[in-house]
Amino acid sequence: MKPEHRTYIRARSNLLIDVATFIAFLIATAPRLSGIGIHEWLGIAFAAAIIVHLLLHWQWIVALSKTMLRKARASSRLGYLLNLALFIDVTLLTFTGLMISEVALPLFGLRLPRGFLWRGLHSTTSNIAVLLIGLHLALHWQWVLKTTARIFGLVRPTAKPRQEVSQ
């Protein structure tokens, strides 16, 4: 398989996973729409998808973690800090969700006392996640547009093969 084709397939599966993760997140932000059971399982699936997302972009994380304090560009540094904040926020969102779980954890026989602090934190981290995911998407918007255009054949075949923009 040609390297460009391999890059294309990889970018396509990355985009599909990212779109599914985003849709899951969006539905999870409206638990009254989905109902609490779907909300909880979708939230757990979202956390699992984030782990997959991080694994897919592992090279970027390692490369930037190594150069973070030295020679990374200002925009990369900003992106790194934003992603770090997003990781912390999503971790807290999932954790507080589990702490107030009414369907998923009781299924495994776990019933925690109702924690009002965790509820408030769950709501706050959800609101912050909306903002941070918006910024995260904005940061990679060119990649999203380019990959979408390639998938739907909107890029002219005569165009020079591009260097893949890794997320």
Binding site: T91, F116, L117, L121, S123, A138
Partner: protein, 115 residues
């Protein structure tokens, strides 16, 4: 093997965040008496019949969203308000992307062209 190691690294980082939050929650609550977060974030309940003002908005006792079982129930059903929540968040994200794209276009335009 490599993937398992990476997953473990991610989970350890998440555990660190959770540990720090638990520590913060219990240290923040150790000084407060009466109503407020108790140890490990579990709130001490207000005495029976106390005012309802101390709860975070949207959370009422007795179940999700304070209405029975809360399965999709809000202001009379699954209609507008619930879908509006999703739409509102989608619009917020779209606005953030639009503003960021505009700013980056403007700053690119201001940057001197390379030959």
């Amino acid at each position: 093997m490599k993937i398992i190691a990476r997953v473990l690294i991610i989970l350890s980082a998440a555990l660190l965040v959770v540990g720090a939050t638990m520590a913060f929650a219990s240290s923040a609550s150790s000084g407060s008496g009466g109503i407020g977060p108790g140890r490990d974030g579990f709130e001490r309940r207000p005495p029976a019949g106390a005012a309802e003002g101390s709860r975070p908005p949207g959370f009422l006792p007795g179940g999700a969203f304070g209405r029975g079982e809360g399965r999709g129930d809000h202001e009379g059903g699954r209609g507008m308000p619930a879908a509006f929540e999703l739409l509102k968040n989608l619009v917020i994200i779209a606005v953030i992307i639009a503003i960021s794209t505009l700013i980056s276009r403007l700053t690119d335009g201001l940057r001197p062209q390379r030959r």
